[in-house]
Structure formats: structure tokens, C-alpha cells
Symmetry: C2
Subunit: 638 residues, 2 copies
């Protein structure tokens, strides 16, 4: 039996086949461009079980063939010892469990959480002081802690300092190892969280954005605010289930569910700590601070808090405001005395990630009415300005991520990400992730499916080409071979079989259009409800946050009616604003206070309580809307 | 092989012998008064290893005979399951490890740490509030923590509360289990340390006095201040070594030494938690606070801090001031969110136990000049009044505890604790612990040795009877059969062989007198040095603290010259004042602040730095002193 992780695919494979061959048989995608010659080094996998014989020795009794010279070229001895192999070289001799790391997954998700420049005053929670102490003598026998505190008071005006208990236990040795010259790290001007012999000045912090699907980490130099390294992984909880609600169900239905989920994300965070320290040569012990954002469910799972109550009405979380927890209490492997600052959450599913967006975008400092849309696996909305902010959470469903779409897929190589349909000929131009140019220009365009941004493109294109009407129905009388009926359902061909790598036409069917209508209708209706509650007639500015928001075409999104009319000049994509917020909170403690204040001030509107939400929602399902005007799009809409 | 714990005595014993018989062979004392008939129940021991066969079942393959009906009368089923047996009934069938509990040890130390009445305003660190919450609804979705905080603010004026992280993880279930009626325990008006469904009002705290030899615990009801139960054990660290300095050496010489010592005391504290909860039926979870006092070394070992630096000049401790540590971080099994408050230490070996004495005795509130002597394994002195306090630590050595004395023993049954010598006949009257009456009145007085209070009695009695002179030398020309030369050394017979249970004369020899002179000389010289540094000529009041202080005859101590002259009317024994201090700090948080303040204000005098300390010491070795006058004792001194 061969088991692939994290996909969980498994099956019996004949002895002597390579892991790569097994992966093909079992439908697991592993990267590789050298034709299994062992020369590209891209198919690295980790043997998790089966490496050792019963004596714990990697010998002839191991369930995998001995490592070859070709492999050693690509694998450090550390990696070799950890069980890393090239999938195309390692032969299967018995039962094994193989882990396919992120970077070896073919069709791996393009992690669209890039870091942008952040311009903010540096005011970190942790500061490091270099202190030279007077040695203890028989005339001056004061305790080490008091000696250190007095000096920090005298030189740095720090008063009433406490000390982390574990740091205290090592204090005397640290002072003497440093020959009474020590570097002292102080958290929030009130607790000594590290004492070490005086040496390098640099110390670091790590901002973590825990998404339902992707986790992004930003390692920052806390002495100058620079971004030193980034890391990202799939959220390891996806092994258990894909979306928020099913993760909550999992914890309810499995006695060990919460513990498993918590362990998964904590191990994930630790693997990222490992990644950034390996990549930079920085010590884990020199990471002295961490901030975390995430939606309410990720927040609870990360803190090992039962999420069952946020899974059903009235959805109260365990706490709203930010909390500082010792890294060691969470099980996170940074400096053991360090704190992890978890940003506050607003309400329902409007979580700490949304607070991150808020402190990054600062709508509460603007005069213009801004609508911030954070489109992840869930959709969150904020509307308002310096006078008032309201927020809501929309159940968009996973259509925007390519799920529940016939040929939907994640934003990965091979995904159609951009679509244009000629109004007259109904011919289709499209672009595929990983290829330069349009299908009309490239021979081996090799489409595999359509990702979210492609679908957002497609629906208004279908409307404007007259393939569907405003209600989303296919215009069956239209005379084009691309529109056809199949299995009692109408569909429109986007890519012809020869333009794909899957050997069949990639189409958009009626159900796909309906799924998108539901998703965008929920967003639109949410925004509309918020506008009503604020009493505003129009939106001055739309901010698209989140990975997905960065990649959709803002004109297409307008035409689809993802949100009410707005001047395209004033529609912005801001990328991973939640992650930016985590970084901002890492670099400046005042922003943490601001986050707590704002999280309290934002008025959360429970959409399902709005008496005519269903009516608003029904109208919003039309493309772009049943009744609302779109002055800024009037020139292109049919 | 049979091994007895905690003594560590071991040997091969023939199969079929009882554990009691084995104990006699191996020199382990086990209590018992029924002649091994199984009718007194006093010889309870615990089988630690060897109870089970290799399948983990107590069967015919067990290394100890099956339990008998006679035993079941004295052992609860819980005790039976835990491996408790009567030593006189259980037969040895193979290798076993037997633990002899404190109460079954024959000749167990009489734990002289009794609790006295404490009259203090009740102001505990932890308060319990009963809160009825409004259920969350779709109109009111605030988080559980904020809901609780707001209610505590509204009703109890508690502001800016934080919450223990572990308590947070269980908060939502606790609130719902209690149907939104909860009991909330708040520490220092600032942190929620327990939330439980509303039920009983009572909650408790435990004050711990960690002595080098004995650990005493006082369970107090924090709702009314009453003392509910007490517990005491031998400090489990005595397995490793007897006194403070040798424990420090042990941690230096053994890589695992500190970890072992720390584990020993923490396990000891946990066994006391178990004892008081078993005895009272109170749940461990309902113990919401703990205070700890102990000398500097016990303090460090308990906190897992390397004591090597307090073992050599200039003896700086890791910290002076009090510290609050989560019980779970120390590994102490009370309510997991609870804090342990460790009282401050002064300097050198003048530790938190001495601070306990200070806040119990409050010399800093008096006009009269008080000398507080805490005689434990180490001697600590405080002198002064409301204007100024000075302290010192004296290396008295273990003579007062009966060690380094030829027939010395601990204060245990069989120990001579009181001695009178007729000035004319030189005949000796003595009393033995565990016997009512004098040796002259009882036939089977059965003395085994002399304990500290007996020795303190004996030396001035020898002086007044003219057996020794002021310099401590035996008067060899004295004509009494009790004074004799043996092995080139002179000795005086206190108990004749027929008055003992050891079959030989119990004597005091010249070396014994010298050892006592050294010990008392150190104390006296310490007090003298403190008087000088304060500039006072006489002491108004002497307070004898500590177990030993309670049992010595204050007139004998005066005549011995343990301290400078003082009116006997103004000499008081106050028992375990350190433990009283721990209880006081448990019951009233203001006293914790007072302790920190006082610990800083007391001026620690390092005696070895005093230029003429050696001269002062040499003079103080005379009995009662070479030169000083003792007006209050003049009528009895020769």
C-alpha cells in the first residue's frame, strides 16, 4: 500500500515502480520536467513511513530503494536524513507513506498572497536593550533580576518590569555566560521575555495570515521594519475538510477533531517558522514576536477553542478582542518567552483577517464612502467612512474558487483565467495561467479548467454577447455551434478539446452560471443591505481585498454586478490586505490598539435578520441587477 | 531484592517473610503496636513495584501475597487499588519496592509546625462572583468573554479584565453547561482564572512553608479565612541530601540534579494537595490560590532555578521580589488557571521564610527593639523596630538538630528533650519524647538519644552543676562517676544503659559541647553584630521562631547564651511564624505588598564582612559569654 499525503490518495502498487509512476496511477500530481531522468530535481517528496526496517535502519529491509547518486545532487544531507527523495528515482519495495511538499505539487495553487510595501512608523512590541551590569560583590549582593531591572530603569526609563518565568530560570547563567553584558528583550515595556549574552542586534517578528485554504507568513526585521522573507503553505487543515463549515462539523463529529485541527495548524505554523529560518539562516530563538489574523473559525481552531458555537445561530465567538498568549502555550516554536498577538475579531465570520484589512486600509480615516470586499472562501464586506462603519458576512459559497463549477479549478497552471467573447462571432479568446499569450496565438495552450477569475470574466461576456440574458438564462435560439444542449442542459464551449490538455471541451453550463449568480448575488445583496443601514445611495470607492480580489478584472466584476455601481477609476485591488494588517500590527503596537478600537466600533449587520434580504438577494442575482442602474457601465451593457 | 523508600534501604529477603519482618532485617522502622497481628492498622505501606504480573494484573504471579480480609478493614478500596498493604500481613514473593509513608514511620519526626490562630482582615487575591448572563441571540451576538466582562464590570465594577488562556478555551462550554449561570473566579481584580457552572460558594487557598527538612501546608477557606486542614511531609529532597549546602552541591555535581530536586519538591507539594483534598473531600480544582515561603535555596529549587550562585560568595539570588507563576507552569495540581504567589526573599540565605516571619511578627510596627531568631537548619536573625531593621544569616550548623552530636537525634520518640542536673549530687533527671514523666518516675523510659532541645538544656545544666566551666571545658577533677574519660575524651553520662533502649550509656562528650558552643556562638555573635550596626545596647524582646524555637526552654537558651541578655518575661516562642506568614499572605493581598516593601527595607548584614566578627564570635562561644553581663540570669549563673 502506498499512501500519498496530503491528498490521502492510496492504492496497491507493484514492487519496483517508482514513486512518480505510482503517483500517476493514483492520480496524484507531482512536478517534474526532465521526463523522469532525475535531472530536474523538481519531484522531491518525503518518505514519511517505510524508510526504516524494524531496527530503525535504512537498509535492504527498507520499503524504498536506496538513494542514488543522481538524487544526492538535489538533496542536502539534512534532507536525505529527513527522508527526502526524488519521486522519479525512488523505487517502491513495500508499504510507504509519501508526503508531496507544496513545491512539488504539479498544479499547485499559485499562492497569490504577495506582500506589498508597507509604510508605517516602526514601533514594535518588543525592544532589545544592551545592558552592561556591575558584577555582584559581597558589598552588593542584590539579585540578578533586580540588578537588571534597576539598570533598565536607570538607562531606559523602564519601570515595574516583570520577567517571564522560564527566562527567570535561565537568567543567572545567561548573565554570567555574557560576562555581565547582556541583551535584554522587553515586551510592551513591561515584561522581560529574553535575556542572552550580548551579541547581534537583529531580532525578528513573524506576521501570520491564516486563511481557510492558504497560510501566509511574513518575517520582518523588527529593528528596521523590512520584510526579510515570506513563506506560505496550504492550510494543513484542508486534509480534514475544505471549508469553514465542514471544519466546524468535523470538530463536532470527531471527539479528537478539535485537537487534530489545532495540531494541524500549529504544526503548519511551525513548518513556516522552519521555512523562513532555513531560508534566511535566522535562529528560531531570534523571532521575538508574532501576530496572527484569520477568520473567526481559523482564529478559534488556532487557539484550540471549540468552534461549535460559531457554527450555528446566533454564532457568538469565544472572545472578540485581541489576546496575547505565550508562544510556548500555543506550542509555537519561536523564542519561548515570546508572545503571540492574535488580532481581534468583529462578529460572526467577520474575523481577525477582516480587522487586518481594516487597519491596512483605514476606511475609518476617510471621508468618502468605501466598500471593502474581502473575497476568500467566505465573503466579508465593510462599508462606511470616518463617521460609521458597518460590516457583514456573506455566504458566497465556493463558486468563486472554482468549486461547484463543472470545469472549475483552483488558480493553478492550466486554469483559464481570462475570457473574451466576440459579440458578433461568439468566438472565444482566453488566457491560461502559466502561458504567455492568448489561445488564438499559442498552439499548445493546454487548458485544464476555469478558475475563479475566468468565471467572473465569462459570465458578463456571455451576457454582452447575448448568449445569456440578464436573468442568466441561455438564449437557446442563438445560432452558434458553441451553444449546445447536452444531457438536457445547455452549455457554452469556452475551450475546444484541442485547446485543452484534458481531451474534451471545456464548457460553462447553466448550473455554472446559476452558481456564480448565487455567489455574486449574495455579495451584492450584502453590500446593498449595508448601504441601506448606513443610509447611503452610492459608493465612492470599492476595495477588492484578498487573493481572489487581486486577480479578477475589476471591469468584469462591475459588469457581473458583484457590487453596486462605482466609477472603475475608484475600484482598487489591494492584494492580501489581511496579511498586510498582520504585518502592520507586528510593526506598530499602536495599530494593535487601533485594531481593538475599530473592531468594537464596526457595526456588524446580520444579513439574515434583514426583513427583506431575500427580496434584495433575488434581485441581485440578475446580471448585473434586476433594477439597479449602472451609470458607469451603461456604455457597455446591452 | 526488597527496596524500602524513602530510606533506600535494600536487601535480599527470603520468600514468605512479611514486609514488616523484612523491615526489621534491613533496619527500616515501621510503626505497629499490635505485635504484627494485623489489628492496629498502623503499619500501612505502599507497594510501589512488584504488585503486578507481567500482564499488569494482581495475580498469583504478583511479587506480593494477595490482600487479606484483616487488611481490608484498614484500607479503603481506593487505597487497596493504589497498592496499600499492612506490612505485617503482606508476604514477599519476589522483588518489590515498598514505600513507607510518613505516618507509618516509627520514630517519625514529630512535626512541630502547628498552626496558630491568625487574626487578619480577609482580603484574598482571588474572589468568586456569581454571574447570570443574558443568552446570546441574533440581536446580541457578542462574544462570551466580552459578555462576561461587561457583566462583571456592570455588577462588580471590575474593569479591563483579562482571561487565562486555558480558561478561555473552555469558556463557552462552561457557560452553556451552567445554562448561562456561572461562577467566575477573578485573580487580583484583573484576570479571570476560572469559570464554572454556578454551584457551591466555597473556594480555597493553600499556604506552603517549604523547610529544608519539613514542608507544612495550610488549607484555608478563602470565603471566611478559616483553617480547614493542614498537611506536612518530610521535604522529599532529603533523599538527595540533608542540608542546604549539600543540596546545592548535588545540583552542581549532577547534570540532572536541579531537575531531580525540583521534581521532588513539586511532587511533594502535589502529594500535600492530594492529602488535604482527600482528607476534606475538597476538589483540587477548588483550590484557587497558593502562597509559598522557603529559604533562598528552597525558593530556587522550587522554582527550578539553578542555586549554584547562592552557594558561593557573593551569593546573589536570581530575584528578590515576589513572583506570581501559573500553577500549571510550576506543575502544581490545583485549579489550572490559578497562580502561585512566591513570597520575596531578602538576601543570601535570609529567604522568603524569613519574610513570612516578618509579616507575621511585624517588628516594623513596634517601638521596642526586637530580636527575631528563626532557628531551622540555618539560623536567621532580624533586629530592630519601626525605625530600622537589619538581618543576618548564621551558619549554625546542624548541632541544634541533633546532628554532629554523639548521641544526637531528631526530635522523635525516644529522644531526650529535657535535662536537669542536680548541682550537688550531679544526678540527672530527663524526659523523653513519647513518655509521660521523668526517668526517675518511669521504669521503661527507653531513651534512644538526645534531640536539640535536650542539648540546649544540657549545656547550661552542666555549667551550673560545675561539670564544665564557662569556656566549655570539662572539670576533670570533679568527683562523680558520671564524668569519665573514654578513648582519650571526657564525657558525662546523661542516661545509663538501663535507662535506654539502645543498651549503652547516652553521654555528652567534649566535642558535643564544642559543637553547641559553635552553633550558639554564631547566633550570639550575629545578634551582637546586628546590635552594633543598629547602635543599640540592649534588646527589649526576643522572639524565637521556627519549630526548634518552640520547643527549647527559653530559660535554658538564655543561660546557654544563645542570644544577649533579655528579660525572660519578654522572650516568646511563636512557632512556625514562616508558615503563619504564608497563611497571612494567602488571606490578605495587602500583606503581599507589605512583604515586598519590608523585604527591600530590611538591611542585610553580611556577617563575614564585619571586621571583628571573629573576635565577637570567639567571645560568644563562652557560656553564656566571655564578657557580656546577663543581669536577668545573674541569680542562677554560677
Amino acid at each position: 500500500m502506498v499512501i500519498f499525503q496530503p491528498s490521502g490518495r492510496r492504492g496497491y502498487i507493484s514492487k519496483g515502480k517508482t514513486i512518480k509512476q505510482a503517483s500517476v496511477e493514483l492520480g496524484v500530481d507531482i512536478e517534474g520536467i526532465c521526463g523522469e531522468k532525475g535531472t530536474c530535481g523538481k519531484c522531491q517528496v518525503k518518505i514519511e513511513e517505510g524508510r526504516f526496517d524494524k531496527y530503525g535502519i535504512e537498509s535492504s529491509r527498507s520499503n524504498v530503494s536506496p538513494i542514488k547518486e543522481t538524487e544526492k545532487k538535489f538533496l542536502s544531507s539534512l534532507e536525505q536524513n529527513s527522508g527526502y527523495r526524488l519521486a522519479c528515482q525512488a523505487e517502491i519495495l513495500g508499504d510507504i507513506v509519501v508526503f508531496v511538499p507544496e513545491q512539488s505539487r504539479l498544479g499547485k495553487q499559485v499562492i497569490r498572497k504577495k506582500a506589498r510595501e508597507i509604510d508605517i512608523e516602526l514601533k514594535p512590541a518588543v525592544k532589545k536593550y544592551f545592558i552592561e551590569l556591575q558584577k555582584a560583590t559581597l558589598e552588593d549582593t542584590q539579585a540578578d533580576f533586580e540588578r537588571l531591572s534597576k539598570e533598565l530603569n536607570r538607562r531606559n526609563k523602564l519601570r515595574d518590569l516583570s520577567i517571564d518565568y522560564q527566562v527567570l530560570t535561565g537568567l543567572q547563567n545567561a548573565i554570567r555566560d555574557g560576562n555581565w553584558n547582556v541583551a535584554v528583550s522587553v515586551w510592551q515595556d513591561r515584561e522581560i521575555i529574553k535575556v542572552e549574552p550580548a551579541s547581534g542586534e537583529k531580532y525578528y517578528g513573524l506576521a501570520m495570515d491564516i486563511g481557510t485554504t492558504t497560510v501566509a507568513g511574513y518575517l520582518c526585521d523588527l529593528t528596521d521594519g523590512t520584510l526579510v522573507d515570506t513563506a506560505s503553505i496550504m492550510n494543513p487543515q484542508v486534509i480534514y475538510s475544505e471549508d469553514v463549515m465542514s471544519r466546524i462539523s468535523y470538530t463536532i463529529n470527531n471527539p479528537e477533531g478539535l485537537a487534530q485541527m489545532n495540531r494541524a495548524i500549529i504544526e503548519g505554523l511551525n513548518s513556516m517558522v522552519q521555512d523562513v529560518t532555513n531560508q534566511t539562516g535566522i535562529e528560531q530563538q531570534d523571532i521575538l514576536d508574532m501576530t496572527i489574523v484569520g477568520n473567526t473559525c481559523m482564529h478559534h481552531l488556532c487557539l484550540n477553542i471549540d468552534p461549535r458555537y460559531i457554527g450555528k445561530a446566533p454564532f457568538p465567538p469565544a472572545l472578540h478582542r485581541s489576546i496575547d498568549i505565550k508562544a510556548r502555550d500555543l506550542g509555537i516554536n519561536i523564542a519561548p518567552g515570546a508572545y503571540v498577538h492574535v488580532l481581534p475579531i468583529e462578529a460572526g465570520f467577520v474575523g481577525a483577517d477582516n480587522v487586518g484589512v481594516l487597519i491596512a486600509e483605514e476606511p475609518y480615516k476617510q471621508d468618502s464612502i468605501e466598500l471593502i470586499i474581502d473575497i476568500g472562501t467566505n465573503g466579508e464586506l465593510i462599508l462606511g467612512n470616518r463617521e460609521k462603519l458597518v460590516s457583514a458576512s456573506c455566504a458566497t459559497g465556493p463558486a468563486f474558487e472554482g468549486a461547484e463549477i463543472k470545469f472549475g479549478m483552483r488558480a493553478a497552471p492550466g486554469a483559464i483565467e481570462k475570457i473574451e467573447i466576440d459579440r458578433d462571432t461568439k468566438e472565444v479568446r482566453f488566457k491560461v495561467i502559466g502561458k504567455e499569450g492568448w489561445n488564438t496565438e499559442i498552439n499548445d495552450i493546454g487548458a485544464k479548467g476555469i478558475c475563479g477569475s475566468g468565471i467572473v470574466d465569462a459570465v458578463p461576456q456571455l451576457l454582452m454577447a447575448g448568449v445569456i440574458d440578464k436573468s442568466g438564462r441561455f438564449q437557446k435560439k442563438l445560432n452558434t455551434p458553441r451553444l449546445r444542449q447536452k444531457d438536457n442542459s445547455w452549455e457554452f464551449v469556452i475551450a475546444r478539446a484541442e485547446e485543452t490538455s484534458i481531451g474534451q471541451d471545456i464548457v460553462i453550463c447553466q448550473d455554472d452560471v446559476r452558481a456564480i449568480q448565487l455567489a455574486k448575488g449574495a455579495m451584492y445583496a450584502g453590500a446593498k443591505t449595508l448601504m441601506r443601514s448606513l443610509g447611503v445611495e452610492k459608493i465612492d470607492k470599492v476595495i477588492l481585498a484578498g487573493a481572489f480580489g487581486s486577480y479578477i478584472d475589476k471591469r468584469a466584476a462591475s459588469l457581473l454586478g458583484l457590487f453596486p455601481d462605482c466609477d472603475p477609476e475608484n475600484i482598487y485591488s489591494v492584494g492580501n490586505a489581511a496579511g498586510d494588517g498582520a504585518r502592520i500590527a507586528l510593526l506598530n503596537v499602536d495599530k494593535r490598539k487601533e485594531a481593538n478600537r475599530i473592531a468594537r466600533e464596526v457595526d456588524y449587520i446580520e444579513l439574515t435578520l434583514s426583513s427583506d434580504f431575500n427580496k434584495i438577494f433575488a434581485q441581485a442575482m440578475w446580471i448585473p441587477h434586476m433594477k439597479d442602474e449602472f451609470p458607469h457601465m451603461a456604455h457597455v451593457l446591452p
